[in-house]
Protein backbone atom coordinates (compact mmCIF):
# COMPACT_ATOMS: atom_id res chain seq x y z
CA UNK A 1 0.00 0.00 0.00
CA UNK A 2 1.26 3.47 -0.89
CA UNK A 3 1.03 5.99 1.92
CA UNK A 4 1.24 9.77 1.58
CA UNK A 5 2.96 11.67 4.39
CA UNK A 6 2.49 15.40 5.03
CA UNK A 7 4.64 17.16 7.62
CA UNK A 8 4.34 20.91 8.22
CA UNK A 9 4.78 21.35 11.95
CA UNK A 10 8.14 23.15 11.69
CA UNK A 11 9.48 25.70 9.17
CA UNK A 12 10.24 22.67 7.01
CA UNK A 13 7.46 21.67 4.64
CA UNK A 14 7.64 18.07 3.47
CA UNK A 15 5.63 15.47 1.58
CA UNK A 16 6.59 11.84 0.98
CA UNK A 17 5.19 8.78 -0.77
CA UNK A 18 6.11 5.23 0.15
CA UNK A 19 5.27 2.05 1.98
CA UNK A 20 6.58 0.25 5.04
CA UNK A 21 9.33 -1.17 2.84
CA UNK A 22 10.53 1.74 0.75
CA UNK A 23 10.22 5.46 0.28
CA UNK A 24 9.31 6.24 -3.33
CA UNK A 25 10.07 9.92 -3.01
CA UNK A 26 10.17 12.85 -0.66
CA UNK A 27 10.17 16.59 -1.26
CA UNK A 28 11.41 18.78 1.56
CA UNK A 29 11.55 22.56 1.50
CA UNK A 30 13.28 24.23 4.40
CA UNK A 31 14.45 27.60 5.57
CA UNK A 32 11.07 29.08 6.34
CA UNK A 33 7.48 27.93 6.53
CA UNK A 34 5.98 27.50 3.05
CA UNK A 35 2.61 25.86 3.65
CA UNK A 36 1.45 27.14 0.28
CA UNK A 37 3.89 24.66 -1.25
CA UNK A 38 2.25 21.52 0.15
CA UNK A 39 -0.10 20.89 -2.79
CA UNK A 40 2.36 21.89 -5.58
CA UNK A 41 5.04 19.71 -3.96
CA UNK A 42 2.61 16.80 -3.75
CA UNK A 43 1.64 17.21 -7.42
CA UNK A 44 5.29 17.27 -8.40
CA UNK A 45 6.06 14.22 -6.27
CA UNK A 46 3.18 12.24 -7.79
CA UNK A 47 4.50 13.08 -11.27
CA UNK A 48 8.10 12.22 -10.50
CA UNK A 49 7.26 8.95 -8.76
CA UNK A 50 4.69 7.99 -11.41
CA UNK A 51 2.08 7.43 -8.74
CA UNK A 52 -1.57 8.17 -9.40
CA UNK A 53 -3.45 9.70 -6.51
CA UNK A 54 -5.94 6.81 -6.83
CA UNK A 55 -3.14 4.41 -5.86
CA UNK A 56 -2.60 6.12 -2.51
CA UNK A 57 -4.09 3.91 0.20
CA UNK A 58 -3.60 6.03 3.28
CA UNK A 59 -2.57 9.46 4.53
CA UNK A 60 -0.23 10.22 7.42
CA UNK A 61 0.08 13.69 8.89
CA UNK A 62 2.18 15.33 11.59
CA UNK A 63 -0.07 16.77 14.31
CA UNK A 64 2.46 18.90 16.12
CA UNK A 65 3.18 20.45 18.51
CA UNK A 66 4.65 23.03 16.21
CA UNK A 67 3.77 26.07 14.18
CA UNK A 68 0.08 27.02 14.18
CA UNK A 69 -0.23 27.97 10.56
CA UNK A 70 1.69 24.98 9.29
CA UNK A 71 -0.33 22.55 11.37
CA UNK A 72 -3.63 23.99 10.28
CA UNK A 73 -2.69 23.71 6.61
CA UNK A 74 -1.08 20.28 6.88
CA UNK A 75 -3.82 18.66 8.95
CA UNK A 76 -6.63 20.12 6.87
CA UNK A 77 -4.96 19.11 3.61
CA UNK A 78 -4.49 15.55 4.88
CA UNK A 79 -8.07 15.26 6.12
CA UNK A 80 -9.48 16.64 2.90
CA UNK A 81 -7.45 14.19 0.80
CA UNK A 82 -8.46 11.28 3.03
CA UNK A 83 -12.10 12.20 2.76
CA UNK A 84 -12.12 12.86 -0.98
CA UNK A 85 -10.15 9.70 -1.76
CA UNK A 86 -12.06 7.64 0.80
CA UNK A 87 -8.87 6.36 2.45
CA UNK A 88 -7.80 6.02 6.09
CA UNK A 89 -5.78 8.66 7.93
CA UNK A 90 -3.20 8.42 10.70
CA UNK A 91 -2.07 11.39 12.78
CA UNK A 92 1.30 11.28 14.50
CA UNK A 93 2.94 13.53 17.07
CA UNK A 94 5.78 15.57 15.59
CA UNK A 95 8.02 14.98 18.60
CA UNK A 96 7.44 11.23 18.27
CA UNK A 97 8.41 11.37 14.61
CA UNK A 98 11.44 13.51 15.39
CA UNK A 99 12.65 11.04 18.04
CA UNK A 100 11.93 8.14 15.68
CA UNK A 101 14.43 9.66 13.25
CA UNK A 102 17.31 9.01 15.68
CA UNK A 103 15.99 5.75 17.20
CA UNK A 104 19.28 3.92 16.59
CA UNK A 105 20.94 5.80 19.45
CA UNK A 106 21.42 4.14 22.83
CA UNK A 107 21.15 7.48 24.55
CA UNK A 108 17.98 8.91 25.99
CA UNK A 109 16.44 11.13 23.30
CA UNK A 110 15.33 14.72 23.91
CA UNK A 111 13.19 15.76 20.94
CA UNK A 112 13.08 19.56 20.90
CA UNK A 113 11.09 21.73 18.48
CA UNK A 114 11.42 25.51 18.49
CA UNK A 115 8.19 26.93 19.91
CA UNK A 116 9.19 30.53 19.11
CA UNK A 117 9.37 33.40 21.57
CA UNK A 118 11.89 31.76 23.86
CA UNK A 119 10.12 28.44 24.37
CA UNK A 120 10.51 24.90 23.09
CA UNK A 121 8.16 21.98 22.58
CA UNK A 122 9.85 18.86 23.84
CA UNK A 123 9.40 15.23 24.76
CA UNK A 124 11.86 12.76 26.22
CA UNK A 125 12.12 9.29 24.67
CA UNK A 126 14.11 6.10 24.81
CA UNK A 127 14.62 3.77 21.91
CA UNK A 128 13.21 0.26 21.92
CA UNK A 129 13.39 -2.39 19.20
CA UNK A 130 11.47 -1.01 16.23
CA UNK A 131 10.92 2.49 17.50
CA UNK A 132 10.85 4.87 20.44
CA UNK A 133 8.68 5.21 23.54
CA UNK A 134 7.79 8.39 25.38
CA UNK A 135 9.22 8.92 28.83
CA UNK A 136 7.52 12.30 29.21
CA UNK A 137 4.44 13.75 27.59
CA UNK A 138 4.96 16.63 25.12
CA UNK A 139 5.34 19.94 26.92
CA UNK A 140 6.11 23.58 26.19
CA UNK A 141 8.77 25.18 28.41
CA UNK A 142 11.77 27.45 28.31
CA UNK A 143 15.01 25.76 27.24
CA UNK A 144 16.30 26.23 30.81
CA UNK A 145 13.35 24.22 32.18
CA UNK A 146 14.05 21.48 29.65
CA UNK A 147 17.63 21.31 30.87
CA UNK A 148 16.43 21.17 34.48
CA UNK A 149 14.21 18.17 33.61
CA UNK A 150 17.02 16.41 31.79
CA UNK A 151 19.49 17.01 34.58
CA UNK A 152 17.55 14.88 37.05
CA UNK A 153 17.57 11.97 34.61
CA UNK A 154 20.59 9.70 34.64
CA UNK A 155 22.64 8.69 31.62
CA UNK A 156 23.57 10.18 28.31
CA UNK A 157 21.25 12.32 26.23
CA UNK A 158 20.94 12.94 22.51
CA UNK A 159 19.24 16.27 21.76
CA UNK A 160 17.52 16.39 18.39
CA UNK A 161 15.42 18.99 16.61
CA UNK A 162 15.52 22.59 15.44
CA UNK A 163 14.97 23.66 19.06
CA UNK A 164 18.05 21.73 20.13
CA UNK A 165 20.06 23.54 17.47
CA UNK A 166 18.65 26.95 18.32
CA UNK A 167 19.29 26.52 22.03
CA UNK A 168 22.48 24.51 21.62
CA UNK A 169 24.40 26.67 24.09
CA UNK A 170 21.76 26.41 26.83
CA UNK A 171 21.47 22.64 26.47
CA UNK A 172 25.25 22.19 26.17
CA UNK A 173 25.58 23.53 29.72
CA UNK A 174 24.61 20.03 30.83
CA UNK A 175 28.18 19.08 30.02
CA UNK A 176 29.66 16.07 28.24
CA UNK A 177 26.73 13.73 28.80
CA UNK A 178 24.65 15.56 26.19
CA UNK A 179 25.30 15.18 22.48
CA UNK A 180 23.55 16.81 19.55
CA UNK A 181 22.07 15.05 16.54
CA UNK A 182 22.93 16.10 13.00
CA UNK A 183 21.03 19.04 11.48
CA UNK A 184 19.81 16.59 8.81
CA UNK A 185 17.57 15.05 11.49
CA UNK A 186 16.43 18.38 12.95
CA UNK A 187 12.89 18.30 11.55
CA UNK A 188 10.27 15.54 11.60
CA UNK A 189 10.62 13.76 8.27
CA UNK A 190 7.67 13.09 6.00
CA UNK A 191 9.38 9.80 5.11
CA UNK A 192 9.38 8.80 8.79
CA UNK A 193 5.66 9.57 8.91
CA UNK A 194 5.12 7.25 5.96
CA UNK A 195 7.19 4.50 7.52
CA UNK A 196 5.42 4.61 10.90
CA UNK A 197 1.95 5.09 9.43
CA UNK A 198 2.32 2.34 6.83
CA UNK A 199 2.94 -0.20 9.59
CA UNK A 200 -0.10 1.06 11.47
CA UNK A 201 -2.30 1.04 8.42
CA UNK A 202 -1.33 -2.56 7.70
CA UNK A 203 -2.53 -3.39 11.21
CA UNK A 204 -5.68 -1.37 10.43
CA UNK A 205 -4.96 1.07 13.26
CA UNK A 206 -6.65 4.10 11.72
CA UNK A 207 -7.59 7.31 13.43
CA UNK A 208 -11.10 8.66 13.20
CA UNK A 209 -10.88 11.79 11.02
CA UNK A 210 -12.65 13.77 13.73
CA UNK A 211 -9.80 12.90 16.12
CA UNK A 212 -7.10 14.11 13.74
CA UNK A 213 -6.58 17.62 15.05
CA UNK A 214 -3.46 19.71 15.62
CA UNK A 215 -1.80 19.41 19.02
CA UNK A 216 -1.71 22.86 20.56
CA UNK A 217 0.21 22.78 23.81
CA UNK A 218 -0.36 26.42 24.54
CA UNK A 219 -3.83 26.27 25.97
CA UNK A 220 -5.85 28.54 28.15
CA UNK A 221 -9.37 28.23 29.49
CA UNK A 222 -9.29 31.66 31.07
CA UNK A 223 -11.27 34.68 30.05
CA UNK A 224 -9.30 37.87 29.56
CA UNK A 225 -9.47 39.99 32.71
CA UNK A 226 -11.03 43.07 31.17
CA UNK A 227 -11.10 45.47 34.13
CA UNK A 228 -9.76 48.22 31.95
CA UNK A 229 -12.24 47.77 29.12
CA UNK A 230 -15.16 47.62 31.56
CA UNK A 231 -13.99 50.89 33.07
CA UNK A 232 -13.92 52.48 29.64
CA UNK A 233 -17.40 51.28 28.79
CA UNK A 234 -18.83 52.72 31.99
CA UNK A 235 -16.99 56.01 31.60
Amino acid sequence: MIVLGIETSTPQTAVALGSDREILGEITIGGKARQESVIPALQQLLRWTDVDLAQVGGVAVGLGPGLFTGLRVGVQTAKTLAQVLGIPIVGLGSLDVLAYGVRSTRRRIAAVIDGRRGEVFFGIYRSVPGGVVRETEPAVRTPARLVAELEVMPGEVLAVGNGAILYHDVIAEMGPRVDFASPTTAHPKAASLVEIAAARLLREEFDRPVDVVPVYLRKSDAEIAWDQRARDASA
Partner: protein, 165 residues
Protein backbone atom coordinates in the same frame (compact mmCIF):
# COMPACT_ATOMS: atom_id res chain seq x y z
CA UNK B 1 13.33 50.00 35.19
CA UNK B 2 10.96 52.81 34.42
CA UNK B 3 10.87 56.06 32.46
CA UNK B 4 8.20 58.73 32.86
CA UNK B 5 7.64 60.92 29.83
CA UNK B 6 5.38 63.72 28.74
CA UNK B 7 4.35 64.62 25.22
CA UNK B 8 2.45 67.70 24.12
CA UNK B 9 1.17 66.69 20.69
CA UNK B 10 0.28 63.56 18.73
CA UNK B 11 3.40 64.13 16.64
CA UNK B 12 5.38 64.21 19.86
CA UNK B 13 3.86 60.85 20.86
CA UNK B 14 4.85 59.48 17.44
CA UNK B 15 8.38 60.75 18.00
CA UNK B 16 8.52 58.77 21.26
CA UNK B 17 7.48 55.69 19.30
CA UNK B 18 10.22 56.33 16.74
CA UNK B 19 12.78 56.77 19.52
CA UNK B 20 11.78 53.44 21.07
CA UNK B 21 12.06 51.81 17.64
CA UNK B 22 15.74 52.75 17.51
CA UNK B 23 16.62 50.25 20.26
CA UNK B 24 14.37 47.42 19.11
CA UNK B 25 15.56 44.05 17.92
CA UNK B 26 13.76 41.18 16.16
CA UNK B 27 11.25 39.31 18.38
CA UNK B 28 10.88 42.22 20.82
CA UNK B 29 7.40 42.69 22.23
CA UNK B 30 5.69 45.82 23.48
CA UNK B 31 2.47 45.85 25.48
CA UNK B 32 0.58 49.12 25.07
CA UNK B 33 -2.01 50.14 27.59
CA UNK B 34 -4.23 53.15 28.10
CA UNK B 35 -7.86 54.09 27.70
CA UNK B 36 -9.58 54.35 24.33
CA UNK B 37 -8.12 57.38 22.59
CA UNK B 38 -5.05 57.51 24.81
CA UNK B 39 -2.81 57.27 21.77
CA UNK B 40 -1.75 53.65 21.55
CA UNK B 41 -2.11 53.49 17.77
CA UNK B 42 -0.48 56.92 17.47
CA UNK B 43 2.57 55.66 19.32
CA UNK B 44 2.69 52.57 17.11
CA UNK B 45 2.63 54.85 14.06
CA UNK B 46 5.85 56.40 15.37
CA UNK B 47 7.25 52.97 16.10
CA UNK B 48 6.57 51.96 12.49
CA UNK B 49 8.23 55.12 11.17
CA UNK B 50 11.27 54.36 13.32
CA UNK B 51 11.38 50.83 11.89
CA UNK B 52 11.46 52.25 8.36
CA UNK B 53 7.91 51.17 7.54
CA UNK B 54 6.37 53.31 4.81
CA UNK B 55 2.85 51.87 4.83
CA UNK B 56 0.27 53.81 6.75
CA UNK B 57 -0.39 52.28 10.15
CA UNK B 58 -4.06 52.15 11.09
CA UNK B 59 -5.79 50.62 14.09
CA UNK B 60 -6.01 46.84 14.02
CA UNK B 61 -9.03 46.79 16.33
CA UNK B 62 -11.22 45.02 13.77
CA UNK B 63 -8.60 43.05 11.89
CA UNK B 64 -6.88 41.94 15.15
CA UNK B 65 -3.48 41.81 13.43
CA UNK B 66 -1.78 43.96 10.81
CA UNK B 67 1.68 43.12 9.57
CA UNK B 68 4.15 45.58 8.08
CA UNK B 69 7.52 45.17 6.41
CA UNK B 70 10.41 47.42 7.37
CA UNK B 71 13.98 47.43 8.65
CA UNK B 72 12.41 45.10 11.19
CA UNK B 73 8.96 43.70 10.46
CA UNK B 74 6.18 44.87 12.73
CA UNK B 75 3.10 42.96 13.83
CA UNK B 76 0.53 45.39 15.22
CA UNK B 77 -2.05 43.55 17.30
CA UNK B 78 -5.16 44.70 19.15
CA UNK B 79 -6.82 42.28 21.56
CA UNK B 80 -9.62 44.68 22.55
CA UNK B 81 -12.36 42.66 20.85
CA UNK B 82 -11.27 39.29 22.22
CA UNK B 83 -12.87 37.63 25.23
CA UNK B 84 -10.88 34.47 25.85
CA UNK B 85 -7.18 33.99 26.35
CA UNK B 86 -7.33 31.13 23.88
CA UNK B 87 -8.40 33.63 21.17
CA UNK B 88 -5.09 35.39 21.76
CA UNK B 89 -3.16 32.12 21.76
CA UNK B 90 -4.85 31.23 18.46
CA UNK B 91 -3.47 34.36 16.83
CA UNK B 92 -0.10 32.57 16.94
CA UNK B 93 1.69 35.75 17.95
CA UNK B 94 5.01 33.92 18.14
CA UNK B 95 4.80 33.07 14.43
CA UNK B 96 4.03 36.51 13.04
CA UNK B 97 6.61 37.79 10.61
CA UNK B 98 8.18 34.33 10.53
CA UNK B 99 8.82 34.66 14.26
CA UNK B 100 11.10 37.66 13.85
CA UNK B 101 8.63 40.54 13.87
CA UNK B 102 8.49 43.18 16.57
CA UNK B 103 5.16 42.70 18.34
CA UNK B 104 3.19 45.76 19.38
CA UNK B 105 0.08 44.67 21.27
CA UNK B 106 -2.64 47.17 22.13
CA UNK B 107 -4.31 46.37 25.47
CA UNK B 108 -1.35 44.07 25.93
CA UNK B 109 -1.43 44.56 29.70
CA UNK B 110 -4.66 42.50 29.84
CA UNK B 111 -2.91 39.53 28.21
CA UNK B 112 0.58 40.09 29.59
CA UNK B 113 0.89 36.45 30.61
CA UNK B 114 0.52 35.42 26.96
CA UNK B 115 3.25 37.76 25.71
CA UNK B 116 6.97 37.04 25.77
CA UNK B 117 8.10 37.29 29.37
CA UNK B 118 10.49 40.19 28.87
CA UNK B 119 8.26 42.64 27.04
CA UNK B 120 8.37 46.40 27.22
CA UNK B 121 5.34 48.06 28.80
CA UNK B 122 4.15 51.39 27.48
CA UNK B 123 1.29 53.00 29.36
CA UNK B 124 -0.37 56.14 27.99
CA UNK B 125 -2.61 58.42 30.01
CA UNK B 126 -4.42 61.55 29.09
CA UNK B 127 -5.02 64.26 31.64
CA UNK B 128 -7.93 65.81 29.79
CA UNK B 129 -11.09 63.67 30.06
CA UNK B 130 -12.71 65.52 27.12
CA UNK B 131 -9.95 64.19 24.85
CA UNK B 132 -9.37 67.63 23.32
CA UNK B 133 -5.79 67.93 24.53
CA UNK B 134 -3.05 65.96 22.82
CA UNK B 135 -0.93 66.08 25.96
CA UNK B 136 -0.04 62.63 27.26
CA UNK B 137 1.87 61.03 30.06
CA UNK B 138 3.77 57.97 28.91
CA UNK B 139 5.30 55.46 31.30
CA UNK B 140 7.80 53.02 29.80
CA UNK B 141 8.71 49.99 31.94
CA UNK B 142 11.03 47.11 31.21
CA UNK B 143 11.86 43.86 32.97
CA UNK B 144 14.61 41.32 32.82
CA UNK B 145 18.07 41.07 31.33
CA UNK B 146 16.80 41.80 27.84
CA UNK B 147 15.87 45.37 28.78
CA UNK B 148 18.50 45.91 31.48
CA UNK B 149 21.19 45.66 28.82
CA UNK B 150 19.46 48.29 26.68
CA UNK B 151 17.96 50.52 29.33
CA UNK B 152 20.63 53.18 29.29
CA UNK B 153 20.39 53.45 25.51
CA UNK B 154 16.60 53.69 25.75
CA UNK B 155 16.78 56.29 28.52
CA UNK B 156 19.07 58.46 26.40
CA UNK B 157 16.80 58.09 23.36
CA UNK B 158 13.76 59.13 25.41
CA UNK B 159 15.48 61.86 27.46
CA UNK B 160 13.91 64.73 25.44
CA UNK B 161 10.50 63.82 26.84
CA UNK B 162 11.62 62.82 30.33
CA UNK B 163 9.91 64.17 33.43
CA UNK B 164 12.17 62.37 35.91
CA UNK B 165 15.78 63.41 36.45
Amino acid sequence: MRLDLRTDTADDTRAVGAAIAAVLEPRDAIALSGDLGAGKTTLVQGLARGLGIEDQVVSPTFTLVREYRGRLDLAHVDVYRLEHEQDVVDLGLEELGDGLAVLAVEWGDAVAALLPEEHLEVELTTEDPTGASERRRIRVSGNGALWASRWEELAIALAPWGTTP
